[in-house]
């Protein structure tokens, strides 16, 4: 007889793991594979301890515990937000019914697919950021990178938990598949294109955590509305962690802009590259790229899948319960702006239910705009006469109605030749990327920071910037 393992200790959880033998066995089988994956695909840099936040409970207060942790020993666990026993289905044709505690057979395949796609994005970002530890601009940033990475790892656990607990053998196969696909792998790439792009430098990392993780926030927000209660509760808790990733993105870009503004003032030139800063036009190009790649993650503007998911109650809208309509949308209409063959924009009225991806994307676009405002305020406060802009949603798109059209950042539809001629002004060129990469030297000394970025205004958990966030060998 093997010794009984205390799973509550090995895998922190609030899903009663110790009494669910089937789930124990599944997760026990998966854990070593996950650790192997982490070893292969996780951060390259070895550390002796990182000042990390670990979730220890899901209550309103004190759910996070801070301490130096050896990264591979991070306690990845399974946390669901607390259950609301009165929760009812908020939308779709089952509106008003009790939420489901089990997967309805009818929706098994769709729910599994949604969870697999969400799950596939979580380890992807870890893989994309694998090498960043080697070039961190400060110990503070290095710590944040690891925090983001371990939490993406935990989000993977969250999705794997759902697959293991509710989808039987196939769910276990899919959970394994999440570790078999790898970002950018020529053989088995991640499912969504944006997660196969390289995150080669720290400006890209800040942009990724600002724009792409923000997409994650909105996707999780729609899954939080799900009638499948375990999925809803899982996503609700993930959203709490996700907020930190976006803080890393928001303040990260803030700090780059701050530093660039300082250098512009100091040297009285916009050409701050030679002075070790990132020129504003390169920042704008990064915004253009990461924003548009993230827009692709919302899928096609018109989507019958999204409509089906909504009607079935699998995936709602952002803040569904706060919306003031019938939550069924069978009779509502909405307008879709489309590029026309003659180079003009036309609009078409369509059933609102077919435009749910657009609905979610609109929420996202408004949210992204707040960041741009912040960054412009930094420039204005520093007296730099320059503004950043989000490009038109038709710009540089591979997915949806705009793919196949050439749209400039200001929304003009142009021909192929004009597009090619303008491309280097709008998107990062090889030279831009090489230049940014040339600035990426690691700074691992306490209290020191790289030339191209300003220190943060606040440290983590009340600690100062010069705190030893990471113990290196």
């Amino acid at each position: 007889m093997p010794e009984k393992i205390d799973y509550d200790a090995k895998i922190p959880n609030n899903v009663n793991l110790s009494e669910d033998r089937r789930l124990q066995r599944a997760l026990e089988g998966w854990q070593p594979k996950f650790m192997h994956w982490w070893g292969e695909m996780g951060p390259t840099l070895e550390t002796q301890g990182v000042y990390l936040r670990t979730a220890v409970s899901v209550g309103r207060e004190g759910w996070a515990h801070f301490d130096h942790v050896n990264v591979p020993d991070y306690r990845w666990g399974i946390f669901l937000a607390e259950r609301d026993p009165d929760r009812r289905i908020a939308f779709g044709e089952h509106k008003g019914e009790e939420v489901w505690q089990q997967v309805p057979g009818e929706y098994r395949a769709d729910l599994q697919r949604l969870i697999v796609i969400q799950g596939d994005t979580e380890p992807a970002s870890v893989e994309q950021q694998k090498l960043l530890g080697l070039t961190a601009p400060s110990l503070y940033d290095l710590r944040n990178l690891f925090q983001v990475n371990v939490e993406e790892g935990r989000h993977l656990w969250a999705m794997v938990y759902l697959l293991h607990a509710y989808f039987g053998r196939e769910g276990r196969d899919e959970a394994e598949g999440l570790l078999l696909r790898n970002s950018g792998s020529p053989d088995a790439p991640r499912i969504l294109g944006a997660f196969n792009e390289e995150t080669a430098d720290w400006l890209a990392f800040y942009m990724f955590t600002y724009f792409t993780d923000r997409d994650g926030k909105y996707q999780l927000g729609t899954l939080k509305e799900s009638s499948f209660d375990p999925l809803s509760r899982t996503c609700e808790f993930m959203l709490k962690e996700e907020a930190h990733h976006m803080m890393v993105g928001t303040t990260g870009v803030d700090r780059v802009v701050t530093r660039s503004a300082e250098l512009i003032r100091e040297h009285d030139t916009l050409d701050i590259g030679p002075h070790g800063g990132i020129p504003l036009d390169i920042i704008q190009k990064y915004i253009n790229f990461h924003y548009t790649v993230s827009l692709d993650l919302f899928g096609s503007e018109t989507s019958t899948n999204a409509a089906n998911y909504y009607t079935a109650g699998l995936k709602g809208r952002w803040q569904e319960t706060r919306r003031k309509d019938d939550h069924k949308l069978t009779d509502d209409a909405r307008t879709l702006e489309k590029p026309a063959a003659d180079g003009t924009w036309t609009s078409e009225e369509m059933q609102a239910i077919l435009l749910l991806n657009l609905d979610l994307r609109s929420e996202y676009v408004a949210d992204c705009q707040t960041g741009v405002k912040r960054w412009n305020k930094i420039l204005a406060d520093a007296g730099v006469d320059h503004t950043f802009r989000l490009p038109h949603p038709g710009f540089n798109r591979e997915v949806g109605i705009n793919s196949g059209h050439h749209v400039t950042p200001d929304g003009t539809i142009v021909d192929e030749a004009t597009w090619q001629a303008g491309k280097s002004k709008w998107l990062p060129t090889t030279e831009d990327l090489t230049f940014v990469r040339s600035l990426m030297h690691p700074v691992y000394e306490r209290g020191k920071i790289a030339s191209w970025v300003a220190p943060p205004r606040q440290g983590i958990n009340g600690k100062p910037f010069d705190y030893e966030y990471v113990y290196l060998t």
Binding site: A109, R181, D187, A188, P189, T311, A312
Partner: protein, 539 residues
């Protein structure tokens, strides 16, 4: 959905909108690259390499050209030019918006094209291989199923699927259900699981269940497929060179005359003696006649849906027909074989055509050998026992002739010759018929041998035929379709008869049921974001 302009079936590779065909020695690549905006009828976009009749007409054209223009090709790789998508199957919005007869005719044609691919593998040594490089669902998987081998990209996410039942409330009607169990011998319980899950099966499981043959890594997919194709090519016995060009049709040998209720199809025999098969190429009578007949059947089925009776006539010299037939059979090479196989497939098209087929055998006709098969394919045969109607002094009489063409080379979908089907289980009679081949048979002999339904004389002929045709036209077309389809295919079941009989019949029934095409049915509701409402009573 119907078009106001008639559908044509003439296509040329350099004008394809949806496929790319290129030949690389003994391997041909047939790449699906559907133009979303290129639907045959307005009102839908062909997303995800989904297809409509127009896409399939090009596929049919390509398969024909591969057989005749490329005798050197031993393997045809069917794949997609789009990244991550092989084919999503028949376009659902097209199906949902189509009238019933359009859906049925579309399904029939697509089935015939897929059967043709299998026929090329089996009878021409031109093996079809599906290189599934991404999402492969519904009719997309049915294209793959029509291939001899299915290679699936091993990227940990691509699946094969037959999601019609769960997503649309209809069947995978292009042979999917039948081929899974009959051809690929997937266990029935696994086939049941497979066909009821919308998300399909991927990777190793797909191999284990026999849904695909092999997995191919994503990296170097094309090269690996090419390598595999060359290996398969080595096993083929197809030999040949000097393909013949399938030039544009000239409509020299097949006349069609359409009235409201009926169509008269007149096939004209050859004017000259046969020349060299290869030199004559597409101009040779047998091939030209077959191409024109094939085209006529397709156009009439698609465009003339209310003309429910087809009258089959021939005109010409029976001796010359038999001489040309001999030239084809005697060639003993790839071209002779291709023409034989093509005529066989064209006759099969006639067998599964849902129209009443009536053969009229008159003086001056040439129902001999191969062309007699047309009469034998018909539901009834009338021979005029007397002089031509407009020349009562003439000595000319209607005759028919049996030849070796009636005893083997043109089997029906059930694997029987038309004579075997006509005299099912009566071996003595078949032996008697075999002794009667190669000479003229008069009207009286034709009656005695059971080769015709009736032999009215010249006084009765016009009235008898008029009454028969008018009577026919007054009957329910649906009941006639059922009647004829049941009578035509006696004896054993094959994959083909199951597809055209059993599967198509079920699909027709399901198509018209409220659970599929009612206002709240699955097919109608697909793409609206609303769920189908089913009448739960099982019938």
């Amino acid at each position: 959905m119907t078009t106001t302009t008639p559908v044509t079936f003439d296509r040329r590779p350099d004008e394809y909108r949806h496929w790319r065909l290129h030949v690389d020695g003994e391997v041909a690549w047939l790449e699906m690259d559907v133009d979303e905006q290129g639907g045959l009828v307005p009102g839908y976009e062909l997303k995800l390499n989904s297809y409509d009749l127009g896409v399939d007409i090009e596929l049919y054209d390509a398969t024909q050209r591969l057989r005749f223009e490329h005798p050197e090709v031993r393997v045809v790789v069917v794949t997609s030019a789009k990244d991550k998508v092989f084919c999503a199957g028949a376009n659902i919005r097209m199906l949902a918006a189509s009238e019933h007869h359009w859906k049925v005719n579309f399904c029939k044609f697509t089935n015939e094209t897929r059967n043709g691919m299998e026929d090329a593998t089996e009878h021409s040594g031109q093996t079809y291989v599906a290189a599934v490089n991404g999402t492969c669902a519904g009719g997309g998987y049915e294209i793959a199923l029509a291939c001899e081998k299915i290679l699936l990209i091993d990227d940990n996410s691509s699946t094969v699927a037959l999601p019609e039942v769960p997503l649309l409330g209809v069947l995978p009607g292009t042979g999917g259900l039948t081929r899974v169990v009959d051809k690929r011998r997937v266990r029935r319980d696994l086939a049941d699981v497979f066909a009821t899950r919308p998300d399909g099966v991927k990777g190793k499981t797909a191999v284990d269940w026999r849904l695909v043959d092999e997995l191919v890594p994503r990296q170097g997919f094309r090269e690996a497929v090419a390598k595999r194709a060359r290996e398969i090519a080595r096993e083929s016995d197809r030999t040949g060179e000097g393909g013949i060009e399938l030039t544009p049709l000239e409509h020299r040998y097949v006349d069609t005359d359409v009235t409201k209720d009926q169509v008269t199809i007149t096939i004209k025999g050859p004017e000259n003696d046969p020349g060299d098969l290869h030199e004559e190429g597409a101009n040779g009578w047998f091939l030209a006649m077959t191409r024109e007949l094939d085209d006529a059947i397709l156009r009439l089925r698609t465009n003339e849906v209310e003309a429910g009776t087809w009258i089959l006539k021939t005109q010409g010299d029976p001796e010359k027909v038999l001489a040309h037939e001999q030239a084809v059979f005697g060639a003993k090479d790839w071209l002779g074989n291709e023409i034989t196989q093509y005529f066989k497939r064209t006759l099969k098209r006639l067998d599964v055509t849902s129209r009443s087929l009536i053969a009229l055998i008159e003086p001056g006709s040439c129902f001999a050998g191969s062309l007699l098969e047309l009469a034998l394919a018909a539901d009834r045969q009338y021979i005029l026992d007397g002089p031509p109607i407009d020349d009562e002094d003439s000595d000319e009489r209607a005759t028919i002739r049996l030849s070796e063409a009636n005893f083997g080379p043109f089997p029906m979908g059930n694997g029987l010759t038309r004579l075997q089907a006509r005299f099912h289980g009566d071996d003595d009679h078949l032996a008697w018929l075999a002794r009667e081949k190669d000479h003229e048979l008069s009207a009286a002999e034709a009656v005695e041998l059971g080769l015709v339904t009736d032999a009215p004389d010249d006084l009765d002929w016009e009235d008898e035929i008029r009454i028969a045709l008018e009577g026919r036209a007054s009957l329910s077309p649906d009941a006639l379709t059922g009647l004829e389809a049941n009578h035509r295919f006696v004896g054993p079941e094959t994959i083909e008869t199951k597809i055209f009989g059993r599967l198509a019949a079920w699909q027709n029934w399901i198509f018209t049921r409220p659970n599929a095409s009612g206002p709240e049915g699955a097919l109608r509701r697909y793409g609206t974001g609303q769920k189908a409402v089913f009448d739960r009573k099982r019938v």
